[in-house]
């Protein structure tokens, strides 16, 4: 009767052990994501400049002020997130005392926020509502919470690490 009950616990434990990434693996993932997304948002910047260059009405007209604002915010936030990934990657290898599960959740939260905030701005600018930003702003709002949790978790563990070191 006991054996079947214990088996799932072991499997789950094995599963977690397999999927928990080391700090170096997490670092490598964030570096890869950071540099690639920096390239992507650089391309977005060039695209936006091209829209200016060719005087594209659906981007430059007065009625599209919200679109310009949103897409500019997408470009700026995306670029900042790219840099944040690189900084996070440098930080995570240093924070050896960070609990693996928490570290991985924070890492995924950062990935999610990095997709949601620029994508939310892009979406809000694409689907305007009466010349105002569209539904995408909801994603920005939600992802801001994720970003906050990432920053708090990282800051907390940075302090904990310093205490451990001392």
């Amino acid at each position: 009767m006991n054996a079947p009950a214990a088996a799932p616990k072991r499997r789950r434990s094995q599963s977690s052990a397999v999927k928990l990434l080391t700090p170096r693996q997490i670092c490598r993932g964030h570096l890869r994501f950071g540099w690639i997304s920096l390239g992507c948002f650089c391309l977005l910047g060039i695209f936006l400049e091209t829209l200016h260059g060719f005087k594209i009405e659906w981007y430059l007209s007065e009625a599209m002020t919200a679109r310009r604002g949103c897409w500019l915010a997408a470009h700026a936030s995306g670029t900042c997130f790219s840099l944040l990934h690189i900084v996070f990657a440098m930080t995570v290898v240093y924070l050896t005392d960070w609990r693996p599960k928490s570290r991985l959740a924070t890492s995924y939260s950062l990935y999610s926020a990095s997709v949601l905030i620029p994508a939310g701005f892009l979406l809000a600018g694409w689907f305007l509502r009466d010349a105002k930003p569209g539904m995408g702003m909801g994603l920005v709002l939600a992802a801001a919470l994720l970003l906050l949790s990432v920053l708090l978790a990282t800051a907390t563990n940075t302090m904990r690490q310093r205490a451990a070191a001392s």
Partner: protein, 654 residues
């Protein structure tokens, strides 16, 4: 299918999935945060109202209906791109146009654009009551049903008779933002809008009955106006009906915007969208054939661009049964020959007289000079500076006015509010202005336009400078009762006095004058025996600061008091304004649409005050101002002139 929602959910799912998969292993804080994030994401998707779409038939009384569904929709097309597009390449020009009253000619109501008070205002005119209220950012009027009134008018019945049901309508549009602001409500016919029969006097900050602001025969009833029928042509860009058989107006832009003067901009925009084309154009002297620039057109063409709205006439294709004129809107495009599509109503035009004899005859002085404001092109083309000049030296509207970098008040270009406007061509007078005018160089008598462009036009409760540039003539004044620049300043002088000086200074012969013209103030006689337009313009002149500084306007107070009970409400208002401009009467209270008894009471009060003032009138002016040897009013002569008052109906197409 709502693509926004689909993409939104896909993005949210894609971004949150890795986190959600890991959720069972995560700490409580991470779990909580993730749940909140998911709730916010889904909450926004669920709670955000769906994108609004234009209903087939908007409920006119529903405050929830967005205003854009009640007014003519903005639709690009027919080569028009709207001023928003122009701004991205021409921000300075856009900014200078943006501050003009042309832009704000037609606007949607917002707390910023509505200049009138709607704070629980009760108005009554011609037996009809109106209650104006504000509901948040919306402006509402409880009023006699405009649908009922329009129906009565269509059935050739008086809209003011009968008992209409009361309805509540939302103000959906305004016209004007400079002198008056008019308000429009929807009627249940296509997307037609009817004017609220009240206008807001911006300077005086008060509501005035619309029928009483304009010069029109006193017995005129309700004047129902439909924006979509008349105003749309000049007060919006590219206004037209959506289809030939549907009463549904569409516009490219509300107000008078870039393409009203520059023509449709699509070709220009498409050409210069290419950065290479833009850089090629920099520094190139080649004329841009893709768009019209009035500043680079000939004087004739550029003036016609202004004249397409600042004139009066019949569209030549209007009576052509095959012409789909509603669907196509205005056929004239900037750069075209205006008279190919517009039959201009000049002085004595038989067609204009056959359409409305009163209006056609009212619009001109009997010497052929236009006397109604807003149609200045018809006056300007009669000026020698235009008609007698070669094309390269011809005066145009742009000689003095500009839509860019100019004073929004009169759209006068820099330095064009003084003699420089005329000295551009007539340089020889620059150094000898006092010798030419025989007035001090810095006085109002040495301002070219005071003599050559006197205030002999009228619109919107004020006199306006005539745009037919001409030499002052006592002969024309004598024969046609048209005021002249000399007597408009020298209010207490006779026509004979003017004739004598014109002969002495400029060798201009006048010919024999009547005893009245020899002995009595030219302005005074027009105030008493002129037609409604002459009385209105003369009354305004009495309040003109330059005239008050020059002459004894107090001597004209009895005549102005008489006009307080004039059959024309606009004349009463102008007489009151002239009186109030004198410091002795600045506290005068007068309701120009009040009861006859009220008007008579104020007349009596004015005369009582004048009795105390008449001692200040110089003795040499007594005779011309119809005062006897003791300085008392020659009542018999006053009444005699009054009896001769020209009561021919006057109606101004203002």
């Amino acid at each position: 299918m709502d693509w926004e929602l689909i993409v939104y959910l896909l993005v949210a799912g894609f971004a949150l999935l890795p986190l959600l998969v890991r959720l069972p292993d995560a700490s409580l804080a991470v779990k909580l945060t993730t749940v909140v994030v998911v709730i916010i994401s889904l909450g926004v998707a669920i709670l955000l109202p769906p994108r609004s779409t234009r209903p087939a038939r908007a409920d006119l009384n529903d405050p929830a209906v967005p205003i854009k569904h009640l007014v003519p929709p903005i639709v690009l097309g027919q080569g028009y791109v709207s001023s928003h597009t122009c701004r991205s390449c021409h921000p300075r020009e856009h900014a200078s146009w943006h501050q003009t009253y042309h832009r704000t000619m037609t606007q949607l109501p917002t707390p910023e654009t509505v200049l009138a008070s709607f704070d629980d205002i009760h108005l009554k005119s011609r037996g009809r009551e109106f209650h104006l209220t504000r509901q948040g950012d919306q402006f509402w009027v409880t009023m006699p049903s405009p649908d009922w009134e329009h129906l009565r008018q269509e059935n050739q019945e008086d809209p003011l008779s009968g008992d209409p049901m009361t309805t509540r309508r939302r103000v959906v549009m305004m016209t004007g933002s400079h002198h008056f602001q008019a308000y429009w409500v929807r009627i249940d016919r296509g997307n037609d809008m009817s004017q609220l029969p009240w206008v807001w006097d911006i300077k005086e900050q008060e509501w005035l009955p619309a029928e009483d602001v304009f010069i029109r025969p006193p017995d005129g009833g309700r004047r129902l106006q439909v924006w979509n029928d008349n105003c749309v042509a000049c007060h919006a860009l590219n206004g037209r009906d959506r289809s030939a058989d549907e009463l549904f107006t569409e516009v490219t832009e509300l107000g008078i915007s870039c393409e009203a003067c520059h023509g449709p901009g699509q070709d220009h925009v498409e050409h210069y969208r290419n950065p290479l084309a833009r850089y090629q154009a920099y520094g190139a002297e080649l004329k841009d054939t893709k768009i019209v620039n009035p500043a680079k057109c000939s004087a004739t063409v550029s003036s016609q661009i202004c004249g397409s709205c600042h004139s009066a006439g019949r569209k030549k294709y209007f009576l052509d049964e095959n012409a789909d004129h509603h669907n196509q809107g205005q056929r004239y495009r900037p750069g075209d020959d205006l008279e190919e599509t517009l039959h201009l109503f000049r002085f004595g035009d038989t067609e204009a007289e056959s359409l409305n004899e009163t209006v056609a005859k009212s619009a001109f002085w009997q010497d052929g000079t236009l006397r109604v404001g807003g149609r200045e092109y018809l006056a300007m083309i009669e000026s020698p500076c235009y008609a007698d000049a070669s094309e390269d030296r011809r005066m145009s509207c742009l000689s003095c006015h500009s839509m860019h970098h100019s004073d929004p008040n009169d759209q006068l270009s820099q330095r064009m509010d003084g003699n420089h406007a005329c000295l551009q061509c007539h340089q020889k007078f620059e150094k000898q202005i006092a010798e030419h005018t025989h007035h001090a160089a810095d006085s109002s008598g040495s301002k070219c336009y005071n003599c050559h462009m006197p205030h002999t036009s009228y619109a919107l409760l004020k006199a306006i400078r005539s745009h037919r540039v001409e030499v002052p003539s006592a002969a024309v004044s004598a024969a046609k009762d048209k005021p002249n620049g000399c007597n408009q300043c020298h209010l207490d002088k006779t026509l004979q006095w003017t004739a004598d000086y014109l002969k002495k200074w400029y060798q201009i012969e006048t010919g024999p004058l009547s005893s009245e013209q020899q002995a009595e103030s030219a302005t005074l006689t027009l105030l008493l025996r002129g037609d409604a337009a002459e009385r209105a313009i003369s009354a305004w002149t009495c309040g003109w600061p330059a005239a008050q500084k020059t002459s004894q306007s107090v001597g004209l107070v009895p005549a102005l008091a008489q006009l307080l009970n004039d059959p024309y409400t606009a004349v009463r208002r102008l007489a009151f304004q002239a009186l109030r401009s004198m410091k002795e009467f600045e506290d005068l209270q007068f309701d120009f649409v009040g009861s006859e008894q009220h008007r008579k009471d104020i007349q009596a009060e004015v005369m009582l005050r004048w009795e105390r003032l008449r001692g200040t009138i110089p003795r040499q002016s007594w005779s011309a101002l119809l005062l006897d040897d003791e300085g008392k009013l020659q009542l018999d002569r006053y009444l005699e002139l009054l009896k001769r008052r020209d009561d021919q109906p006057v109606e101004f197409p203002e």
